[in-house]
């Protein structure tokens, strides 16, 4: 250990390396911590620092990374490494030019960014995305602490727009480790729901088969809906393709005598969604570890519960009400909560303290607005996923929300 110590000390002295001081300093700080002491009251300070704060986010993400590797193969590791290297290079260059320390915020961006990409994403696209995100999402605003947008989301948004073909259709089936992307890609649960719901009826109370409707199909989102329909003596299921959301509806339908099994398809089960056996972005599929990681962060006081709770709660309530009246457009609530990037976004991206409001009321406002936008984008636009857009849009409103809350909080007392 002393060898490394003396090597670092010598590196500081080498005249040619003065320019690389941020790199040496960062290595030094990570390896050995600081020897700085307080110089005025308070003479004793808390042990937490930004490095530990940030490393706890990484710690909370590690189970999601492990699940990702389990479901999508070791290519995930390669993508994460590319992300760290390309983004790290940007961070180092800006630190050298700006002559400041390397800030730790990048450790999170470099990990979150790959986790919101499809597993089939080419490595060069990963590099472009992370470079763009770090540069235009963070460094252009003055670095960590001053950025308005979540840099990982800026990167993701950029490649979604720049490479739509790569980003919208290529979803790898879990456990399918082959890299022949054309053969293996499938739609995500949200995509499946949207296309199925658009193609036929959703939760009809009566199913009628007419000769002229050759490809008639219906979608049931709950066991109750199946029961209601099957109890109706006028329902005729011959030749009708039936899709079910979740095991409950599927089993109910399978039990029914008038429904033939060959016509019955289960879109997905909630259990698979929770565990991660459904296609999606690398880190977002295994919801159970994301929930655990998110709760861990809240317990450690690294993230605040207000945004995730208000975000998820809003999506749930809106979907509950919306699905009753517009089942064709708005997916059922539990499905919405567990599908797509919502859980990951709510737990790890909307909670970023820098780009979300710092006032309590602002946090609720941010979470509720994100929830409303997510449901709207998912239901009524061409995009199947709305989490990324809603968080980025609300990032832009963060300073305004805080200003309004402060205005109310500190308004002059009425005289």
């Amino acid at each position: 250990m002393k060898v490394i110590r003396s090597l670092l000390d010598k590196l500081y002295e080498v005249p040619g390396l003065q320019r690389y001081k941020p790199i040496i300093g960062a290595a030094d700080a990570i390896l050995y911590g600081t020897n700085e002491t307080t110089h005025a009251a308070p003479h004793v300070v808390d042990n937490i620092d930004i490095k530990r704060y940030m490393s706890f986010v990484i710690l909370a993400l590690l189970p999601a990374v492990a699940a990702s590797v389990y479901f999508f193969g070791f290519r995930v590791i390669a993508i994460i490494m590319v992300s760290y290297m390309a983004g790290g290079a940007v961070e180092v260059i800006f630190a050298m030019v700006g002559k400041h320390d390397i800030h730790e915020g990048f450790l999170i961006t470099g990990l979150i960014f790959p986790l919101v990409l499809p597993p089939t994403c080419p490595l060069w696209v990963v590099a472009i995305g992370v470079v763009f995100g770090t540069m235009f999402g963070k460094e252009m605003f003055g670095g960590t602490g001053r950025n308005i947008f979540n840099p990982a989301l800026v990167g993701r948004l950029f490649i979604t727009i720049a490479f739509p073909a790569i980003m919208s259709a290529n979803w790898q089936q879990p456990f399918d480790y082959s890299l022949e992307t054309d053969a293996t890609t499938v739609a995500t649960p949200l995509g499946k729901y949207k296309s199925t719901a658009m193609a036929g009826e959703v939760n009809p109370t009566v199913v009628e088969f007419k000769e002229d409707e050759a490809n008639k199909q219906v979608l049931f989102t709950s066991a109750a809906a199946v029961e209601k329909c099957t109890l109706n003596p006028e329902s005729k299921f011959d030749g009708v393709k039936i899709y079910c959301v979740g095991n409950g509806a599927y089993k109910k339908a399978a039990k029914h005598k008038r429904i033939e099994e060959s016509n019955l398809t289960r879109l997905f089960s909630y259990g698979d969604l929770l565990v991660g056996k459904e296609p999606g972005s690398m880190g977002e599929t295994c919801r159970i570890v994301i929930i655990l990681g998110g709760i861990f962060l809240m317990f450690a006081k690294v993230s605040n519960w207000r945004i995730p709770v208000s975000y998820l709660g809003t999506v749930f309530v809106l979907a509950l009400v919306g699905h009753r009246f517009l089942p064709q457009d708005i997916a059922p609530p539990v499905f919405q909560i567990f599908a797509g990037g919502l859980m990951f976004g709510a737990m790890f991206m909307a909670t970023d303290p820098i780009t979300s409001p710092f006032t309590k009321a602002g946090k609720y406002c941010f979470g509720v607005s994100c929830g409303v936008l997510t449901v709207l984008i998912r239901s009524f636009t061409g995009y199947v996923e709305g989490v990324m857009f809603s968080i980025v849009i609300m990032n832009a409103f963060t300073p305004l929300i805080d200003q309004i809350v402060l205005m109310f909080k500190y308004r002059p007392a009425k005289t």
């Binding site: 911590g33 020897n35 004793v44 808390d46 937490i48 930004i50 490095k51 500190y410």
Partner: protein, 495 residues
């Protein structure tokens, strides 16, 4: 009568720190030399009433000024004045009297003291309290007819006596109230009540010391003017600003003193000093000082003569091989004692020795940290904190300064509901205007808790202090409270 607790927002519990002083009291030897500053605590500097080469006795008044707001100071040893001159004391240039001691223990008692204090007139008691120097306690003093506080005795509505021990290290209330001292404390409180007949008394103690609360309320049982309550020892519960709102539910006059609304805040030692003065005629020549922090061989309390050099008090108690920093009274707000020949005056309650943490630690930020304290729950100390596994106490910064990430820790701990990071951002960008007033910058009580918890290692407390100073330069002083204040005229007369 045991009263109910009221809570204040924020705050932080400093639990299980290494070096908490035990309930053990030893007596320091009589020092060879004492230095008595003529300004101790809140009052004005008093005039010396002795000259060089005068012989003085312990307890003899050596400095007194009845005109300005002050209390007399005394020689704490028997001996001879060797020098009267200016010293640099806690950042102020103060006149101090240096006395060479002859080594004897005795002290001269004040005239007119009586164990049957009930027979004394109020004027006689006031005189004893004033002449003993006990009236110079706290930030407000004890009002007497001798200008010892900014308000007069009639104006006092409430007296708060506190021993909540919310600091990381504080003198143990249990030790101060041990044995006979409990009844002395009760008597002292009754004496104060006789002096301040219109005042209601509240005694706030550490809510975790249940037996102490029972004992104290038992000793003062049949007095309806006095209530005893437990307060959670959450820093900064011992601050005047916090006590006034937590105990009395009254609004503190920001930028002023508790005395301005007729509240006097005293600690336990002040009440004991009143008892000593009136019953035994003993002036404030001794203080019980906690020797806290990991730098001492044994953490205990020491009773030392006022004006003893710090070096003399800690002599032989300090670990030799460690690089130490000595602090006065508090780890969070106290001054570092760079010159150990400086005296410990009658406002000194603790000498804290913390280890200079200037050594590097391998992979410090990923260590589990069973002994590292943190407001966040990111260290194992959360699970392990106990009297056996104490938390480390050293001066290492534990990280590099970084930009603010709005983690909101400072907002959560602020005892007066400010947003320290918001104030910091404004002061840092030189935005010194009404906005800072609007965000309540003058409400800050400078407890430094925000700086303590900041993961970005920003010295928020210092920034806010600087912000206040800059605001005053800009001509935007602290606005006057809307309610009437007491004692302001006297204040201006004194100037």
């Amino acid at each position: 009568m045991i009263a109910k607790n009221r809570a204040f927002p924020g705050g932080y519990r400093f639990k299980h720190f290494q070096g908490r002083p035990q309930d053990k009291l030893i007596k320091a030897a009589i020092p060879a030399m004492v230095t008595i500053p003529l300004m101790q605590g809140f009052g004005d500097e008093v005039a010396a009433v002795v000259g060089a080469d005068d012989k003085v006795a312990a307890g003899q008044t050596i400095g007194r000024d009845d005109e300005s707001i002050s209390s007399p100071v005394h020689s704490s040893v028997n001996g001879k004045v060797v020098n009267i001159g200016k010293i640099d004391y806690l950042g102020n240039e103060t006149t101090a009297i240096t006395i060479e001691s002859d080594g004897t223990e005795g002290w001269q008692s004040l005239e007119g003291c009586s164990a049957a204090w009930d027979n004394l007139s109020i004027e006689q008691i006031e005189k004893l309290v004033y002449l003993s120097g006990a009236s110079g306690a706290g930030r407000d003093g004890i009002p007497t007819g001798f200008n010892s506080s900014i308000i007069s005795p009639d104006e006092v509505e409430n007296v708060i006596i506190h021993g909540v021990e919310s600091e990381m290290f504080a003198v143990s209330s249990g030790l101060l109230l041990k044995d006979d001292n409990l009844s002395h404390f009760a008597e002292g409180t009754k004496i104060l009540r006789k002096m301040l007949p219109h005042a209601a008394f509240s005694i706030a103690l550490n809510s975790e010391c249940k037996s102490l609360i029972t004992d104290v309320s038992g000793a003062l049982a049949d007095n309806d003017w006095c209530d005893v309550r437990g307060l959670e020892p959450r820093y900064p519960a011992d601050y005047d600003e916090v006590l006034v709102s937590a105990v009395l539910g009254r609004e503190f006059p920001v930028g002023h003193l508790a005395a301005n609304i007729g509240v006097i805040v005293l600690d336990i030692q002040a009440v004991l000093a009143v008892y000593d003065a009136v019953v035994a005629g003993k002036a404030v020549i001794e203080r019980t000082i906690a020797l806290a922090g990991p730098g001492f061989k044994e953490n205990l309390h020491i009773s030392a003569r006022v004006g003893s050099p710090v070096q003399h008090i800690i002599d032989g108690m300090v670990k030799q091989d460690a690089d130490l920093r000595f602090l006065r009274n508090s780890c969070l707000t106290g001054e570092a004692l760079s010159d150990l020949s400086m005296p410990a005056d009658r406002t000194c309650g603790a000498i804290i020795a913390v280890v200079e943490g200037n050594n590097r630690e391998m992979f410090a930020f990923v260590r589990p940290g069973p002994r590292k304290d943190s407001y966040s729950r990111t260290f194992l100390s959360l699970l392990f904190g106990s009297e056996k596994i104490t938390k480390l106490c050293e001066t290492n910064l534990r990280g590099e300064e970084r930009p603010c990430i709005s983690c909101n820790y400072c907002v959560e701990v602020c005892p007066v509901s400010l947003m320290p990071h918001l104030l910091f951002r404004h002061v840092e960008r030189e935005i010194i205007d009404e906005k800072l007033l609007k965000y309540g910058i003058y409400d800050c009580i400078e407890c430094n808790l925000c700086t303590y918890v900041c993961p970005s290692k920003i010295t928020l407390g210092q920034w806010i202090k600087d912000g206040k100073a800059k605001l005053i330069d800009e001509g935007l002083p602290c606005p006057q409270p809307k309610f009437a204040l007491k004692g302001l005229e006297e204040d201006e007369d004194a100037k």
